[in-house]
C-alpha cells in the first residue's frame, strides 16, 4: 500500500460521470503527475482530495488511514493542501492576508499583524517568490496572482500537496521558481500531485504518472523510465499526434493592423507594430512584460492615452470593445474567470453573445442559427458537456476556455484576431485542433496575434515573434531567425545568461 491511496473513487454530476472507479497510489517523497484531456476528471479528483467535493463512492487513505473530510478545513488539519485550478484569492485583501486567511496568527481574536508579516515574508523569501506582500491582490497581474496562489502550498506544514495546473499562466522564469520549490518539497518527503497539460513539465518533474480518460483510469506508470511522450499522448487522447504544431507556411498579404505609438495608463512607453493579412504574429515575454496591457489598449478595453490604430488603412477610433469588434478587431482575454466566462448562463449563450447580432433581426434572436453555431463549436472544439444548455460554470477549466475561444471563432467579419494565452489549460489533443483552426483563419486572410508565455507554442505556430520586456517591444524575429536563446535574451530585463532559464 502506498502513502496516499485513492481507491474506487466515483463521482457523478447531473448528466456527467466525472470519475468512475479510479484507484491508484502515490509514495512518499514522490511527485505524481495527473494528466488527461479536458474534462477527464483531474480537477474533480483534486477537489475530492481537498474536501471541497464528496465522492459518491470510494475512499482516500493517507498513511493507511481513511480520510473523511467534512470541509476544506478538515483537509488542512490533516495536512492536505490543494492549489486549485481557478485562482482563489480575495482581491481586496493584501498578499500577506490572503496567505494567512483561515489561519491568521492571533491572540484572543486580534490579529498579530507584525507576526503575520514576518511569517509570510520568511516563507516567501525561502521559496524565492518576489512579491510585495503588502500589495492588495487586486493590483497584481494574473501571473503574479498565480505565484501568490502557489505560495499557499508552503504556508502550512503539509503531508500532501496537490497543484492543479499551477503553471498555466506562468512563463518559464516563474515556472522555474515553482519547479525548484517542488524539488525541495519532494526532498522533504511530501507527496505531491501535479496536474498539467504540459508534457515537458511532467517529464521533467514527475516520478510517476496517472492518465485519466473520460473519468476512468487510462494508464498508471509507477515510474516514468522508458515511457515516451507519444505513448502518454496516445493514452490521453486515444490516438497518436505526430506533430502538435502542424505548422504550414502561408503567404501573407497586405498590412491589416497597424498599431502606431499606442500608450495607456499601464503601458507608459508607446508601442508600435503591425500585422499582415494571413500572418500569425506571436508576442512573447515574461510576466508583467506588458503584452496583455498592449492588447487591451488595441482592443479598447482600457483607455488609450495616445497613438493610432488602423485596420486595412482605416483609422479605428475604438474607445470601447464594441467599437473595436465592429471594426473587425477581437480579443480573447487571458483572464477567463474575470473577463471571459459569463457565470450562470449556458454554453450556448456564452458562445453567441457577440456573434448573435449578425443573425438577429430587429433585435429578435434567430434561435435556429444560435443553436447551430453553439452545436458547431461544441463539436469543433470538442467541448465535453452533456448539453449546450449546461451552465458554463459547471464545465472543466479547459472546456470553459474552449467555449470562450468558440465565442470569438464564431464571430463574423473579423479582420484581426488577438488571442491572449489561447491554449491556457487546454489539452494536447485539442491544442493541435485549435492551431489548425488558427491556420485556416489566417489562410482566409485574417491577421492573428497570439500572446503566449509558452515559448514552444509561439515558436511552433507563429510566422513572426515580437518579444516584450518591461513594457516595450524589445525584439522582432521572423521564422527563420527563431532561436530560444535569442528570444529569451530579449525577454529578460537584466542581462542574465538565458541558459539558466531555458527549459
Amino acid at each position: 500500500m502506498s502513502f496516499l491511496d485513492f481507491s474506487r473513487i466515483t463521482k457523478t454530476y447531473p448528466g456527467v460521470k466525472a470519475l468512475s472507479d479510479v484507484s491508484f497510489g502515490v509514495d512518499k517523497g514522490a511527485v505524481h503527475g495527473l494528466m488527461g484531456e479536458n474534462g477527464a476528471g483531474k480537477s474533480t479528483l483534486i477537489k475530492i482530495l481537498s474536501g471541497d467535493q464528496h465522492a459518491d463512492d470510494g475512499e482516500i487513505r493517507i498513511d493507511g488511514k481513511v480520510q473523511a473530510y467534512a470541509s476544506t478545513r478538515d483537509a488542512f488539519d490533516n495536512g492536505v493542501i490543494v492549489i486549485h485550478q481557478e485562482l482563489q484569492l480575495v482581491p481586496e485583501l493584501t498578499v500577506a492576508e490572503n496567505l494567512s486567511l483561515g489561519r491568521f496568527p492571533a491572540s484572543a481574536g486580534i490579529i498579530a499583524g507584525r507576526r503575520m508579516l514576518d511569517d509570510v515574508g520568511a516563507k516567501l523569501k525561502s521559496a524565492g517568490i518576489d512579491i510585495d506582500m503588502r500589495r492588495k491582490v487586486k493590483t497584481l497581474s494574473i501571473g503574479e496572482r498565480q505565484m501568490v496562489e502557489i505560495a499557499k502550498a508552503i504556508m502550512l506544514d503539509a503531508r500532501v500537496i496537490a497543484l492543479d495546473e499551477p503553471t498555466s499562466s506562468l512563463s518559464s522564469r516563474e515556472s522555474e521558481i515553482l519547479f525548484s520549490l517542488i524539488d525541495r518539497l519532494r526532498g522533504e518527503g511530501k507527496v505531491i500531485i501535479y496536474v498539467s497539460h504540459r508534457l515537458d513539465e511532467v517529464f521533467r518533474l514527475c516520478d510517476s504518472l496517472t492518465v485519466l480518460r473520460d473519468g476512468k483510469l487510462a494508464a498508471h506508470h509507477a515510474s516514468l523510465k522508458g515511457v515516451t511522450r507519444d505513448q502518454v499522448v496516445a493514452e490521453m487522447v486515444g490516438r497518436e499526434i505526430s506533430d502538435i504544431w502542424g505548422f504550414r507556411p502561408r503567404k501573407s498579404g497586405d498590412i491589416r493592423l497597424k498599431v502606431d505609438t499606442v500608450s495607456g495608463a499601464k503601458l507608459k512607453t508607446p508601442a508600435s507594430f503591425e500585422a499582415r493579412a494571413g500572418e500569425i504574429v506571436g508576442f512573447f515575454g515574461l510576466i508583467g512584460a506588458g503584452r496583455s496591457e498592449l492588447m487591451r489598449l488595441v482592443f479598447g478595453a482600457d483607455h488609450r492615452s495616445g497613438g493610432t490604430i488602423t485596420v486595412d488603412g482605416k483609422v479605428v477610433g475604438a474607445t470601447d470593445p464594441h467599437d473595436a469588434i465592429r471594426a473587425g478587431i477581437v480579443l480573447c482575454s487571458e483572464d477567463r474567470k474575470h473577463d471571459g466566462i459569463i457565470q450562470g448562463r449556458s454554453i450556448e449563450e456564452n458562445i453567441n453573445i457577440s456573434s448573435r447580432r449578425h443573425h438577429a433581426r430587429f433585435g429578435v434572436l434567430n434561435r435556429a442559427s444560435e443553436i447551430e453555431t453553439a452545436e458547431t463549436f461544441i463539436k469543433k472544439l470538442k467541448v465535453r458537456t452533456p448539453s449546450r444548455k449546461q451552465d458554463i460554470i459547471n464545465l472543466s477549466g479547459g472546456n470553459q476556455q474552449k467555449v470562450i475561444l468558440g465565442r470569438w471563432l464564431s464571430e463574423q467579419g473579423v479582420r484581426v484576431l488577438i488571442v491572449d494565452e489561447p491554449t491556457r489549460g487546454i489539452d494536447v489533443g485539442a491544442k493541435s485542433e485549435i492551431y489548425e483552426l488558427l491556420y485556416q483563419l489566417a489562410e482566409d486572410g485574417m491577421a492573428i496575434i497570439v500572446v503566449s508565455s509558452e515559448l514552444p507554442e509561439v515558436m511552433g505556430i507563429c510566422d513572426r515573434i515580437l518579444v516584450m520586456c518591461g513594457g516595450r517591444i524589445s525584439a522582432e524575429l521572423v521564422r527563420d531567425q527563431f532561436a530560444e536563446k535569442a528570444i529569451l535574451a530579449a525577454a529578460l530585463p537584466d542581462k542574465k545568461t538565458p541558459d539558466a532559464i531555458a527549459s
Binding site: 464594441h322 480579443l331 474575470h338 450562470g344 457577440s354 448573435r356 447580432r357 438577429a360 433585435g363
Partner: protein, 316 residues
C-alpha cells in the same frame, strides 16, 4: 409515475408547479377565494406591482437596483391627471405621463451607467427628488380628474375582464419575450452574470443599462396612469414603499440579486404569491397585527420550499 412527477417538480418550471399546488390548497381552504369576482379583484390588486415587476426583473438581472419606482408611479399618475386636465385631452395626458416616467428612468440610467454612481444611492436620490416634485406640483394634495373618461381606463372591460388586467397580461407576455428571445434580454442577463466579460464581448453595457432604466420609467408611467385612473385622482403620496414589494416579488420569483438569473414565469408566480397572501389573509379576517407575522412566514416558506426543490435538484 413518481419519476415523472419528480422530473416535473425539479425541472425549470418547478416553481410554477409548487405555486399551482399552493393555489389549489388555498382555493380549497379559504372560503370565497375561488370566485370569479375575487379572482378579478385579486388580479386587479396586483396590477401595479406586476407591471413594475416586469422591468424590475431586468434591472435586478443586470445587477442593478431601482428604488425610485414608487415615486415615479406617483409622479406619473399626477402628471397624467394634471396634463389631461390642463390640455383637455386624455391622450396627451397619458403621453406626458409616460414621457415623464421615461425621462426620470433615463436620468437614472445615465447617472448610473455613465457617472458610475451606485444604483442604490442614485435611485434613492431620484426617489426623493421625484416624490418632492410630485408633492410640489400638487402642493401635497390629491388632484381630481376633470374628464370622467379617464376612469374608464381602469373600469372598462373586455370579455368581462377589466382593461388593467389585460394590460398586465400583455406586458408579462412582451417582457417574457424580450427577456428570452431578444438581444436586449440576453445582453441584460449577460451583464448581470459578468459585467466585465460582457463588455469585453462587445456588449454595449452602458447603453443597455440606460435602456433598462428608461424602460423601467416607461413601465412605471403606465402603472401610474392605471393607478390614477383606478383611484380617480392623482395622489402625490401614492405607491410609497412599492419598490420593496416589487423587489420581493421578483426575488421570490427566483430573480437573483447577484444578477444573471431571471425568468418571467418566476416573476409572475412571485407577484401572484404576494397578491394571494394578502387576499387570503383578508378573506380569513386575520387581524392586522397578525397579518405582519403571516406575511413574513409566507415569504420565508415560499423561498424555503423553492430552495429545498433546487437543492434536491443539485443532489439528484
Amino acid at each position: 409515475m413518481t419519476h415523472r412527477l419528480k422530473k416535473l417538480l425539479l425541472g425549470e418550471q418547478g416553481l410554477v408547479v409548487i405555486f399551482i399546488v399552493a393555489f389549489a390548497l388555498v382555493s380549497a381552504l379559504v372560503p370565497n377565494f375561488l370566485t370569479d369576482r375575487n379572482m378579478l379583484g385579486l388580479l386587479q390588486s396586483v396590477v401595479t406591482v406586476g407591471i413594475v415587476a416586469c422591468t424590475m426583473m431586468f434591472c435586478l438581472a443586470a445587477r442593478d437596483f431601482d428604488l425610485s419606482v414608487g415615486s415615479i408611479v406617483a409622479f406619473a399618475g399626477m402628471v397624467a391627471v394634471m396634463a389631461s386636465n390642463y390640455t383637455g385631452s386624455i391622450l396627451l395626458g397619458l403621453l406626458a405621463a409616460i414621457a415623464c416616467g421615461a425621462f426620470v428612468g433615463f436620468i437614472n440610467g445615465v447617472v448610473i451607467a455613465k457617472f458610475r454612481i451606485n444604483a442604490l444611492i442614485t435611485t434613492l436620490a431620484t426617489m426623493q427628488i421625484v416624490r418632492g416634485l410630485a408633492l410640489i406640483a400638487s402642493d401635497g394634495r390629491a388632484v381630481g380628474i376633470n374628464s370622467p373618461d379617464f376612469y374608464q381606463l381602469a373600469l372598462s372591460k373586455l370579455l368581462g375582464i377589466p382593461t388593467p388586467i389585460w394590460i398586465l397580461a400583455l406586458l408579462f407576455g412582451i417582457f417574457g419575450f424580450v427577456l428570452n428571445r431578444t438581444v436586449f434580454g440576453k445582453n441584460t442577463l449577460a451583464i448581470g452574470g459578468n459585467p466585465e466579460a460582457s463588455r469585453l464581448a462587445g456588449v454595449n453595457v452602458d447603453r443597455t443599462r440606460i435602456w433598462i432604466f428608461a424602460l423601467q420609467g416607461v413601465v412605471c408611467g403606465i402603472a401610474g396612469i392605471l393607478l390614477a385612473s383606478r383611484i380617480t385622482s392623482g395622489q402625490p403620496n401614492a405607491a410609497v414603499g412599492l419598490e420593496l414589494s416589487v423587489i420581493s416579488a421578483c426575488v421570490l420569483g427566483g430573480v437573483s440579486l447577484a444578477g444573471g438569473r431571471a425568468t418571467m414565469s418566476g416573476v409572475i408566480v412571485g407577484v401572484l404569491i404576494m397578491g394571494i397572501a394578502e387576499n387570503a389573509m383578508n378573506l380569513l379576517n386575520i387581524p392586522a397585527f397578525y397579518q405582519y407575522i403571516v406575511r413574513g412566514v409566507i415569504l420565508l416558506l415560499a423561498v424555503l420550499l423553492d430552495n429545498l426543490r433546487s437543492s434536491a435538484l443539485g443532489r439528484r
